[in-house]
Symmetry: C2
Subunit: 337 residues, 2 copies
C-alpha cells in the first residue's frame, strides 16, 4: 500500500495526504483526522524512525502548566522542575518552550497550535487527571509525550511515576507513632491523580490504626487557601493535633495561622509540608517536610522524553524519586489529646 | 555599492558575504566580524525592514536568567515576570525560549548559539550590571534586545526603567517618620545596577536626616543568606530597629530569625520586604513590602521588544511600574531606641 492508494481512497491529492500523515501544516485538522482514519483502516503504518527522517526537528520540547501566574510564582516546585529539564536540554542543544495555560482546554489548544507549527518535538505533561483528555489529544497529534504519574501501571504513553502511596504511608505512620490521633489534611486539587492517591492512602492508614477518619479540606494549592483551611480546622471544637499539607506554600501559611491563633508548634500542633523547598528551611521553626528531589524528577522526565523522540517504540516508563520524610522543627509528640 | 563590491574587497564569495551580513550560519565569527567591518567602511547599510524580509522569523523570544535552580524556585519575581511575558506572546502566537545560566559567560554562550540557529527574534535581559558585557554581545549578534534598567538615561538599546531611587526614598522616609534611627539593609548582589541605586539612595536619605550610616550586608538573594545576615545584625551590641530586605524570601527568613532570637515584630524590630508577593501575605504578621506590579513589568518589556523586532529603529525606552509602599504588619514605631 502506498500513499497514492490512500490519496485515491480519500479523494485527495498525494501532497495533501503526505501533509496529513506527516503532521505538517497545509491541510485542515478535519482533513488530517479523516486521512488518518482512512490510512489506519487500510493498514497503513510508518516507523517512527522513517517519520523522524522526513520531519525537520524543532529541537525544542514543550511544557504548559495549568496554573495562575501568581500561584506559579510562589510554588518552588515548578522552577526546580524546569531547572531539571534544562540541565538535560542544554547538553543536547535544545530549548524549552514554556507557556502557562489557565485551563486544560487552553493547554490543549496550545498543543494543537504547536503541532501545526511544528514548534516542539515532544511534551511533558503535568498533573495527570482522572480520565485525562490530554492523552487522546497528544496521541491524535502524534507528539511524543511523557506524563508524570504515580503508579507504574497508569495507562497511555510512557510515564515517570513516583510512589505517592508509599510516601503518604511513611508520613502518616510517623505522625501516628508520635502519638497523634486526630490528623487532618489540607489537600491540593482533588481531581489530580497523585492527590487522589494521597487522599486514599491516608484514609487507609488511619483506618488500619483505628483512628477517626481524617478531616480533609481541598484547596487550589494557594497560600491563601491553605491559611483559610488551617483557620477552619483550628477553630473546631476538637481541632486536629497534626496537619499534612499538599505543598510547601500552604504549610508556611498554616504556620502563620498557628501563630495567629496561639497554637504552639509542635507542642499543640504538628505541621508537615509536602515537597520540601528552601522555603521550609527559613521559617521558624523550620518545617518538617516530605522531601523529593524535584530537580532529578525534571531530569529523569526529560531524558525519557528524548529517548521517546529518538526511538522506534519500546520505551518504558521509569520510576522517579519519591518523597521521603525530612523531619525538622514542626513535628513532635502532641501535648494535648 | 552592492554585495559583490564587498565580496571583492574582502576576497570572499558573494554567498559568504551574504551569510555574514545576514547573520546566518555558514561563516566563522571572525569572518563575519571582518566582513561587517569592511562593509561599514564602504558605507554599507541595510534597513531593518529589508533585513527582516530576508530573514525567517523564529516566532520566539528568549529569556536566560542567571540564577541557580533552587534560588529561582523560591523567588516569586521570575514566574510573575514570565507570566507577564507570556500574556503578550500568546496574543501574538509566539513562544518563550527559557533557559537558566549559571554565569553571565554561560548566558552569552547561549545567545551566540541561538543567534547561529536563528532560534529567537529577540531577547529580554535581566539584572543589568555596571559595565555589562552583554550589551556589546547582543549588538554584535544583531539580536533585538530590551533591558530592565533603573534610569531613563542608561546606555545602549531601548530599555524598560523603573525609578529605584524614588522607591527607596519612599521606603526610607517612611521608616524615619515612624521614628527609626538605626536602619539596616540586607542587600542583593551589589554589582547589579538597581541594587547599587538602592544602596546609594538609602545612604543619601539617611545622611540628609542626620542618621548614622546604615549598616549593609550584601547577599546572593537566597533565604539562607538573608537569615545569616539578620542573625549577624541582631547579634550586635546596638542592633538596628528596622531592616530593609532586597527581596521577599530574605524578609521571610528575617522574620523567622527575629522569632528565633526573641525580637517582637514590629515593636522591637521592623522588617520591610522588596518586591511584594503572595509569600508576604501568608507570614505572621504579614510582611510590609515595596509592592511592584511584576506581571505588568513583564508585559511592558515584551511589548517593547516586539515593537523593536518589527521596527526600523526609532523605538524609545518606557518607564515600567515602580515599587510603592504596601505597609502590613511588620513595620511600626520602635519601642526601643
Amino acid at each position: 500500500m502506498t500513499i497514492a492508494d490512500i490519496a485515491r481512497e480519500a479523494g485527495l491529492s498525494i501532497g495533501s495526504v503526505s501533509y496529513a500523515l506527516n503532521n505538517k501544516p497545509g491541510v485542515s485538522e478535519d482533513t488530517r483526522a479523516r486521512v488518518i482514519t482512512i490510512a489506519k483502516r487500510m493498514g497503513w503504518s510508518v516507523s517512527p524512525a522513517a517519520r523522524s527522517l522526513s520531519r525537520s526537528r524543532a529541537d525544542s520540547i514543550g511544557l504548559v502548566p495549568v496554573r495562575s501566574p501568581r500561584m506559579l510564582g510562589v510554588e518552588p516546585f515548578f522552577m526546580e522542575f524546569v531547572a531539571g529539564i534544562q540541565a538535560v536540554l542544554t547538553r543536547n542543544e535544545m530549548a524549552l518552550s514554556f507557556l502557562l495555560a489557565d485551563s486544560v482546554e487552553a493547554e490543549i489548544r496550545i498543543y494543537e497550535r504547536w503541532a501545526s507549527q511544528r514548534r516542539v518535538d515532544g511534551l511533558i505533561l503535568l498533573d495527570l487527571a482522572i480520565d485525562d483528555p490530554r492523552i487522546a489529544v497528544v496521541e491524535r497529534l502524534e507528539i511524543p509525550a511523557v506524563y508524570l504519574s504515580n503508579a507504574p501501571d497508569d495507562p497511555g504513553q510512557p510515564h515517570v511515576w513516583t510512589c505517592e502511596d508509599e510516601s503518604m504511608r511513611e508520613a502518616a505512620q510517623y505522625l501516628i507513632r508520635l502519638g497523634h490521633r486526630r490528623i487532618a489534611r489540607v489537600g491540593g486539587v482533588p481531581s489530580y491523580r497523585h492527590i487522589a492517591v494521597r487522599h486514599r492512602t491516608l484514609e487507609e492508614v488511619a483506618a488500619a490504626a483505628g483512628l477517626p477518619r481524617p478531616t480533609v479540606i481541598d484547596t487550589d494549592f494557594s497560600g491563601e487557601a491553605g491559611a483559610r483551611a488551617t483557620r477552619s480546622l483550628l477553630s473546631r471544637p476538637e481541632p486536629p493535633t497534626a496537619i499534612i499539607y499538599d505543598n510547601d506554600v500552604m504549610a508556611v501559611a498554616g504556620l502563620g495561622v498557628a501563630a495567629e491563633l496561639g497554637f504552639s508548634v509542635p507542642g499543640e500542633l504538628s505541621l508537615l509540608a509536602w515537597d520540601d523547598s528552601p522555603l521550609c528551611e527559613i521559617t521558624h521553626p523550620p518545617l518538617s517536610a516530605m522531601h523529593r528531589d524535584v530537580l532529578a524528577l525534571g531530569t529523569v522526565s526529560t531524558s525519557l522524553l528524548l529517548q521517546l523522540i529518538d526511538s522506534e517504540g519500546g520505551v518504558e516508563g521509569v520510576e522517579g524519586p519519591r518523597a521521603v520524610l525530612q523531619p525538622r522543627g514542626t513535628t513532635g509528640r502532641p501535648t494535648r489529646s
